[in-house]
């Protein structure tokens, strides 16, 4: 049961990442690409968590936490750049 659930969710997360890449390549404007990147890091965290379950180890959760923090900060930085033309005023 758990094996099937893990395989299913891995497949859906990989499919979601492919859809994000599509929006990242196509996205007509800058905020669309930013949204695609933001979703992509959330999906990367999901992939890392599933890899931890697959390998039965907790080693990679620190990297998931790091990706969460850096992703949020980079999203805010790019938003600030698009809004004000400057990151730190």
């Amino acid at each position: 049961m758990l094996d099937f659930a893990l395989t299913f969710s891995l497949a859906t997360v990989v499919l979601a990442l492919l859809l994000n890449v599509y929006r990242l390549a196509k996205g007509p404007d800058m905020p669309d690409r930013l949204l695609a990147l933001d979703t992509m890091y959330v999906n990367a965290i999901a992939l890392i968590v599933l890899m931890g379950l697959w390998l039965n180890t907790k080693t990679y959760f620190e990297s998931a936490l790091l990706i969460a923090m850096l992703g949020f900060i980079s999203t805010v930085a790019v938003c600030k750049y698009l809004l004000r033309g400057d990151i730190i005023e």
Binding site: V13, R23, V42
Partner: protein
Amino acid sequence: MTHYVILEGVIAFLLMAGGAFVLIGSLGMAHLRDFYMRLHGPTKATTLGIGCMLMASMLYFWVVDGRPDAQEVLITLFLFITAPVSAHLMAKTGLHLQLRHVDKTQGRPFELRKEEIGEKPVLHPDRGHG
């Protein structure tokens, strides 16, 4: 014995629900027609999906190791706090850049100033204008 089967079922259900919600969020982002619609998918469905997956992971390692661990709860809390903030900032960016939108997407937030929705230039007092 039997409660292990129940726990396995709960973990499997949370994993599959998480995967489905993540896929729905990204599908919405890839498929919907303008930026303000596309913002809905990742901010709500994907956040719920990753919350489900992290809960499943926390339950699994709780059952395997025999003691709870706060790491997954930390990631979940952090994501649930930061997702609305970044979504709000991205919506403001879209309004500021005056992106194209379909006619059904209308209305503007009353609490934003004119320069925040792109109707007036942004003031930069530090550069000597404004």
